[in-house]
Amino acid sequence: MKITREEVLRVAELAHLSLSDSEVTKFQGQLDSILSYIDKLKELDLSGVQPMAQALEANTRPEAALRDDVVCVSDVSRAVLDQAPEAKAPYFRVPKVIER
């Protein structure tokens, strides 16, 4: 197996996902076959190849150059807080995190 049950649980913890026992079993099998498949990238010799992070080659294509970073007014806090499951302006409310 490419991935153990413990690793599945560890990844779920990193991703803040609660999974049922049956989901853990199912994902272990499915992730195993997907990870085995993507191992095919190991066939390639990648020495000297630069990683590609951006489709537009921002450095070489002038039409893809980034805009200037300019401060502007944004007045949406009210509308944003209206969408929150729990809020008390100007804050979002969450369960207590810090014990005194």
Binding site: V11, A15, Q50, R67
Partner: protein, 482 residues
Amino acid sequence: MSAVRKWTVPSIRAALEAKTISAREIATEFYSRIEKRNPELNAYLTLSPERAYAQADRIDTMRAKGTRLPPLAGVPVAIKDVISTRGICTTCASRILENYVPPYDATAVERLEAAGAVILGKTNCDEFAMGSSNENSAFGPVHNPVDLARVPGGSSGGSAAAVAAGLAVGALGTDTGGSIRQPGALCGIPAMMPTYGRVSRYGLIAFASSLDRIGPFASTVSDVASLLGVISGNDPRDSTSASAPVPNLLEGIGKTVKGMRIGLPAEYFGEGMDTEVRSNVEKGIQTLESLGCRPVNLRMPHTDYAIATYYILANAEASSNLARFDGVRYGMRVPESSLAEMYRETRGKGFGPEVKRRIMLGTYVLSSGYYDAYYLRAQKVRSLIRSDFNAAFEKVDVLVTPTSSAPAFLLGERIDDPLSMYLSDIYTVTGSLAGVPAISIPCGMTSKRLPVGLQIFGPPFAEERILQLAHALERALGAEQA
């Protein structure tokens, strides 16, 4: 599904100018079609009649005053539910955003409306645009209007089905690995993914930011060009938006394609393709030759590595982008006594199985100790895949391939095997990784009367050339059928 009148951008304009119909009457006609057909198709998730009729009335007032009508005046359009619409519920077809109402419009939506389009509503899709069959929607699958037992493709299945069934004249979808082109092919309509950066992603709820693109569906290539022309162009609110000028995309339409060099990459015509897809696409290529195009056989040697590369990069980005759905700022919250439990339970209950699977895979490949082996390696292979395209475009003007290896499959047929579902994206993910534009256009039917799609890739920012060739083929194939 025939009986309904086929409206297009030019026919709506002509009817409005001749005053044979008003924009309000057109909107009313489309809502009555939707009422009739949507229960069996499940293409629309939310309708927005208030906003649509207000816009239609604005158009009718302009017309009454004799003001020059904007380019898409009165054209009814549908918007995929991953694209933000002010005041209209935007769910990403997910329980976690079931009641989310964005406080702003995506740039593409804003531009469509400024050009006179009438937004009818929001279309169903795979949850967070993750899927190739539309079966991953939390609100039930979309049915293909060509055959209700079959999938419409995905992830933009609702947008494709709505246009194919005549429930909208145009629609916006999003394409990360094939999610515009493949449903376009499976539903039998033209569908285009523009160059990365051509259309602003502002207001698009992100799946994989380095791959996501917004693009149009319509029933004719000319209408695809009209819609794309309106939504294209630089937007300072999207830092990856290109500043390249937008030419008149309708300019090439109707012009000769004689002498155009069409590349046929061997890797796109290998094993694993349905025989009737192959025969129809080959017939399409012969038609292009009869129009004077010059076929050039070539190779794109890294094609076979595209799926593995794509599923590493797209899911790594997804695991990061979807971290924002934690029950704090918007969407669903499962109340728990601790913050960590609230995160875990909200995400565990709010996301469906495919989204969880992809977050898991993405988190795994980015986790400590695996980054170099998976993510960095995939970014390097992505460079090689782009080099394949760069090398090809030194020899040819466009590339012609099938869009999907098979026509529309049956609902439920592939849902239990995620890997085989992923592998079906082989002809589309390459162009997604390379950042190049592509269109899928209808190219014949199988013996079961299922549409086949032909895909045309062009170099970055060569949408005009792609549309020119697509239109020439559309016209030639239409003439052959007639």
